[in-house]
Amino acid sequence: MKAAPTIDGRLQIIIEEDQDWLALDLIIHDSVTGNREDLCEHLSSELKERQDWEDYIRPDLETHFSSQIKQLKKFLDESRDQKTFYIDRQGAEYWYGALNQSRLSLETKYQTSHIESLDEINELELEMRSAFLRSQFYSNLQGLLLEYIMA
């Protein structure tokens, strides 16, 4: 897979092999590795008065986060027969949000942010190494979206 910004302000994704789709589908899978309830708990964990937040804010947040994942899944499903597709400024918002959900979920389950050196990666169990590499891939995609599309 290759990803590069275009002159007209979009991110071009070039699919080079079938496994690239697997990597992209894992964004959806990883977003529910934790779950949306956990994400809302994480975001609000420092709130002291929670009742109003639980009653009025949480339902909207859950709907919003769920919508980001649904939009990304729809986008991927509709792009699946193409070798090249583009993420525009509008799409970048839900792509970024979905990637963030996936990274937060992976962090909750694997604490990959504690891994700092390449030597450490080689010593990891396969599941942990895979989670770390996926998190890095998602982070790199987010970096491209931020720098070239959402700026």
């Binding site: 709130l47 109003d52 804010i57 947040l61 919003h64 959900q101 942010s113 959402m150």
Partner: protein, 93 residues
Amino acid sequence: MADTQEITLTKQKTKSSTPWQVIVFDDPVNLMPYVTRVFQRVFSYPKEKAEYHMTEVHQLGKSLLWTGDRERAEVYVQQLHTYQLKASLQKSE
């Protein structure tokens, strides 16, 4: 009667004018440029001020982003949660 009303109004004014603080906490996932961008968007801060608060979150674990009335603080916290930033509000001491 008139005196009683006056006292009540004074108490309400004192209660509603207690400032509230919006605080953002560090997490290991959100990218620093993203956090800066969210602070610019939510609080309309200039880039330098947004970067200052982002750095404070990153280095100190949290930053006080805004102080003011409760209703507005609640809206800010809701917006920050929507952007997946860990945020809270508390009464100013």
